[in-house]
């Protein structure tokens, strides 16, 4: 048996999925944050049942990647039973998707989730009446408390039936559906889609297109609008029959503070600043412990083994890569993910997107682009992965370049370790200033030259609620696993390659080759180029390698302030790390990955040269 979970974004589908399958937990409150399908197996009454978590969607009519995916899944009979998950507090809106799915006539059951929240708002849902309206079993559940989740499997496997839902469409639409069914012989859900211009049967599309034109002329309204209105009205009828409302005192509306320009924007800035500050403080403290422990417990014993030089080099590179991965992943990225999950689970992230919309419009993006940007301060890899929630290629391209320029936590380490420590805290902040000016300039230019159409923001505001520690941790854990899965292999391979280059003496050759650039253009010591090269592999390694090559941790004694400052600026700006390049390539293709890399190299060298010339 195969069961699929279907529902709007943020209805608690993923949570139910994880409770059913017993894997980790992730609550997706962001539209489209779970594009890939998640599968899980569970045994019920000695029978293996596969459960699929479909991406959260609002409708089956659209042409977005997620909607098309779910539609194909339904038409191809991807599951034996569809478990429709609905948010009790937004029942009417959620029924809209339910009636659409019902038109594909799969076996279904309905799970009304968040029934606890609905009760608190004074809404009482009568499961019996709802079940008689929909023609399928209805379960009232509260996934956050685990209430009635155990009933889902028995009911889904035993009592699921095709829903008895008949939306009373406008009589012109009904006539069109009948005539299409008669003349072409296609089922109703295909005809409805064809009337809205979706489908792959040319004969049907052609006939439906002509009728749709006729209908929209007559109604002075597009067919999609008519169909959507009919469905929403039907959903409203059902809802008014099954919900009884009692008056509750409305809780204080926090949004009157959060979504106004004042004090909303100061609050937003404070929250982001505190997030970054705490990630940095906690991160550097934890990193120190992890790196020290790793060095004393694994690397020192390994070097003491005194293996043959080649093997020693390879093993050492491998261990360094692991140290680098864990040293950045857990202290910085994981801490950041916890903060991020908190912002998402409280529902604040959608407010941030709304407030940021104006600023983002200036640079050719819209409010939702703030999410990749914020994530970028933690780590560029997940930031690039989150670019998929931007709708158009144009927005993704602009945001991709910007995100790779944002100082991630590893770059913050470079700035802090080199500039703040040896040159001065004021100079460290000036680097941020330089980066932001460059970011804005790049953004303005990109928004002018990037082809494509801009699509504004349409985001459903999440409900503000208290986050649950367990869910936040579990979500962060799932994300860090994804991060390690992508970043680790790249780190290990690059580290070993670099190690081999060093072993074969290629790095010295490289130093000699680029010496004109390093020495003449940037005014840096010759060995700085190797440090910069290592920075490609992991940004803060630029700083550590520099210390190793300089032969002292007191960099101030071997390099001038200008040299240190130039080195930091160049290494922060130039080339995203290899993990970023890998994920850029995976997410947006080779072209964007190459262009971004080349652009940042030149930008880094250019700015470095300017600083060198100005300050020398």
């Amino acid at each position: 048996m195969k069961i699929a979970l279907l529902g709007n974004p943020g209805v608690g589908k993923s949570l139910i999925f994880n409770q059913l399958t017993g894997l980790g937990v992730e609550v997706n409150r962001y539209p489209g944050s779970s594009v890939e399908l998640e599968y899980g197996n569970v045994c019920y009454k000695q029978e293996k049942t596969e459960i699929v978590d479909l991406p959260g969607i609002y409708s089956l009519d659209g042409n977005s990647e997620e909607e098309t995916l779910v539609r194909t899944f339904l038409t191809s009979g991807g599951a034996d039973v569809i478990v429709a998950v609905l948010d009790a507090t937004k029942l009417e809106r959620n029924l809209y998707l339910f009636v659409q799915a019902a038109e594909f006539s799969p076996k279904m059951i309905a799970v009304i989730n968040m029934i606890d929240a609905a009760e608190r708002q004074g809404m009482h849902i009568d499961a019996g009446i709802l079940s008689s309206h929909l023609g399928v079993p209805v379960i009232l559940a509260a996934a956050s408390e685990g209430k009635n989740i155990d009933r889902i499997l028995p009911v889904a496997l035993g009592e699921a039936t095709p829903a008895r839902v008949h939306v009373p469409y406008d009589h012109h639409i009904e006539a069109a559906l009948k005539s299409l069914e008669k003349t072409i012989g296609t089922p109703i859900h295909m005809n409805l889609l064809a009337l809205q211009g979706t489908g792959d049967d040319p004969v049907l599309l052609d006939a439906a297109g002509a009728i749709a034109q006729e209908i929209s002329m007559r109604h002075r309204m597009s067919v999609s609008q008519i169909i959507a209105t009919n469905r929403h009205n039907y959903a409203r009828e059902i809802t008014s029959a099954v919900i009884k409302r009692t008056d509750r005192k409305k809780p204080y509306d926090l949004d009157s503070l959060l979504t106004r320009t004042f004090p909303g924007i100061p609050i937003l800035c404070t929250i982001l600043f505190l997030l970054l500050l705490s990630v940095f403080m906690i991160g550097s403290w934890m990193e120190g412990i992890i790196v020290a422990a790793f060095t004393s417990m694994i690397i020192t014993p390994f070097t003491a083994l005194a293996l043959p030089p080649l093997w020693n080099q390879i093993g050492f590179s491998l261990l360094i890569a692991l140290q680098a991965g864990f040293g950045i992943a857990f202290p910085f990225v994981f801490t950041f993910y916890i903060g991020l999950s908190l912002l998402e689970d409280t529902g604040y992230m959608t407010r941030a997107a709304f407030l940021a919309d104006r600023a983002m419009h200036r640079i050719g993006l819209h409010g939702q682009a703030i999410i990749p940007m914020v994530i970028g301060f933690g780590c560029t890899v997940p930031a690039v992965m989150s670019l998929r929630l931007l709708k158009t290629r144009r927005e993704q391209t602009i945001a991709a370049v910007l995100v790779t320029m944002i100082p991630c936590s590893a770059r913050t380490v470079v700035i802090a370790g080199i500039v703040a420590a040896f040159v001065g805290i004021f100079w460290a902040f000036s680097i941020y200033l330089i980066i932001f000016v460059l970011l804005i300039l790049t953004a303005v230019v990109l928004s002018r030259i990037t082809p494509g159409e801009q699509f504004g923001m349409i985001v459903e505001m999440s409900i503000l609620r208290r986050p649950q520690a367990k869910l936040v941790l579990a979500k962060s854990w799932l994300r860090i696993k994804e991060f390690l899965f992508i970043a680790m292999p790249v780190l290990i391979v690059t580290s070993i390659l670099l190690g081999l280059c060093q072993y074969l003496g290629l790095t010295e050759l490289f130093e000699q080759m680029v010496a004109p650039v390093t020495v003449t253009l940037l005014g840096l010591p010759v060995y700085a180029s190797t440090a910069l090269l290592f920075g490609v592999f992991r940004k803060e390694l630029a700083f550590e390698t520099l210390a190793v090559l300089a032969g002292t941790a007191n960099l101030g004694s071997v390099m001038t302030n200008v040299q240190l400052y130039t080195f930091a600026v160049v290494s922060v700006l130039f080339v995203p790390c290899v993990s970023t390049m890998a994920v850029l390539y995976r997410q947006l293709g080779a072209r964007i990955a190459i262009i971004t890399s080349i652009y940042t190299v030149f930008l880094g060298l250019f700015i470095g040269a300017i600083i060198n010339i100005l300050m020398k």
Binding site: D61, N63, A210, S222, F354, M457, M461
Partner: protein
Amino acid sequence: MHPSLREDYLEAVQLFSEKNTRFPSYEELASALLKTVPVVHSDMAELISGGDVIVSPNGVIALTVQGKQTGTSVMKKHETLQCFLSEILGMDKTSASDEACTLEHAVSDETIDRLGKLIVTHDNHQHQGKGRHRKFAGERTCRAETEDFCQSPGISEFSEGDVVIIQCIHGRACAQRLLDLGLVPGERATIRRKLSNGALVVQVKGCDVAVSPEIASAIGVERSP
């Protein structure tokens, strides 16, 4: 100039521009209409003064809004008539096309509408001009939506706290997401928040939806009584 000659020209330019996605030169238009270049030159002068076409300095003939309207309308009449004559009456394609060329200048809009409907109901397997027909349908709905259908002011013209009734979603045909979130004609919506740039939070069906200014301006509403 005879009205039918004018319509022939506009139809030919429109047809050319749809086929080649650019406008024709004098020579191309002349060969399409089987006329000589000097004749086309003198006729164009009349069309320019009539406000139907604009000729760029390098000799490219482009349609004005008015010219395009006439051109597409005649083209559609031609297609419908030809389709009716060949597919339903069974005439051979060349003579159907020739006859359509004559009839298209005299036939009324209503006749064409009704003929179109007849073709659809009688024959769903029309092979002629299939692609074009579909493209037409799309163009028609889009244009109608932006220009004729909705006269209501955009929601961005109202202020915070106002309760409005949604009349239509105009302009962006791609605003399916708004429909899915319940912003459908006839629905009551409350403006929960309006920022100075016109970005809005609209409450509809108990859910708050945030929209960018350019999306907000596409939502036509009237004040709720």
